[in-house]
Symmetry: C2
Subunit: 173 residues, 2 copies
DNA sequence: TCAATTAGTTATTGATTAATCACTACCGTT
DNA sequence: AACGGTAGTGATTAATCAATAACTAATTGA
């Protein structure tokens, strides 16, 4: 069972998980470091032993969320048959939307945060995901891979919105 | 020239314009009513003569932004030839993205705000726009109008994101 | 066994902010 | 020449919050 051996690395990822939840539920700017601490079952100042500032915490949380998508997509790319490539990538993303909804909500928030460090992280994430999908489509022999990649990402963005505002009819017919 | 006759209605819309700017630039939660007031060239408490709370101000600002899109799309629908319908709707939206970027940024922020009044406003806006586009496509004899409407909205969402994080290469090939 | 390292807390602060209150200035009417 | 309505401001407040400082408790290893 490997109980709760509170290593430093362990604590750090607990705080990150708490932050993702709280930021997603409450909104980054309205969320307080005290709320994050409470969720992680530690005191508020102890958060700052692991992250130099609230913004640094957000940045790390964003990295986690992008790595989730990148890792999942890479696995699909190296395991799916070419004719199933698009469908399998869609399924993988739908799975993330279900099981890690908060990470998606966090990314949506970050889309409108003006701090340059945050924007860079978002651009990096999108660039990497786009590259993976594009290469997957090319490798699978899909026609007009750029256009198909664009549409793949576009559908993803609308599904994010439909999910966030709880309007399932927006997702499809 | 009809200078600045400061009617009450006039003031109210000045405050709304200021709020749209400030909220979009700074983020709703980080933005202060003092910043809005400064932009509108009035004192901070005077904002509350026109809006009962900061959230009511956000709600009114959102209504303005949705009315912009709805009004523009309705005009296109009744003036464009069927064969140009989709293209003209796209052009209309691109125009709004250029000329009223802040209203789009405001809507993007509102997508992740959990207050029920805000979510209802967002659902209402999306429902109305979706209905207009769908009817336009049906009236123009476009095949699979539901799917085409979905893709139209989806492309819009991705363009919003690409614009917000300043990543133009995300928009197309 | 004790010194250093690690893990964690309580207390505090300085800044910020939505909202309220009490006030002043101006304008048209009678 | 005074009244009532409209337009607007300064001062204040009660709450909130990120970050720091100063502390204690437990663990480890030589």
């Amino acid at each position: 069972m490997a109980k709760d051996s509170a290593t430093s690395v362990n604590r750090k990822s607990e705080i990150l998980s708490a932050a993702i939840e709280v930021f997603a539920e409450t909104g980054y700017y309205r969320a307080t470091t005290a709320m994050v601490a409470e969720r992680a079952k530690i005191s508020q100042p102890y958060v700052f032993r692991f992250f130099p500032s609230k913004e640094a915490l957000l940045l790390s949380a964003l990295e986690v969320s992008w790595e989730r998508i990148v890792g999942s997509f890479r696995q699909v790319v190296q395991s799916a048959a070419p004719e199933n490539m698009e469908k399998e990538l869609i399924v993988a993303y739908e799975r993330i939307m279900e099981e890690h909804r908060n990470e998606i909500l966090l990314q949506m928030q970050a889309q409108t945060i003006a701090e340059e460090t945050i924007r860079e992280s978002m651009r990096g994430g999108f660039r990497e995901v786009r590259e993976i999908v594009l290469e997957a489509f090319r490798g699978a022999g899909i026609e007009k891979p750029e256009e198909r990649t664009f549409l793949f990402l576009a559908r993803g963005m609308l599904c994010n919105v439909a999910d966030a505002i709880d309007m399932p009819e927006l997702k499809m017919t």
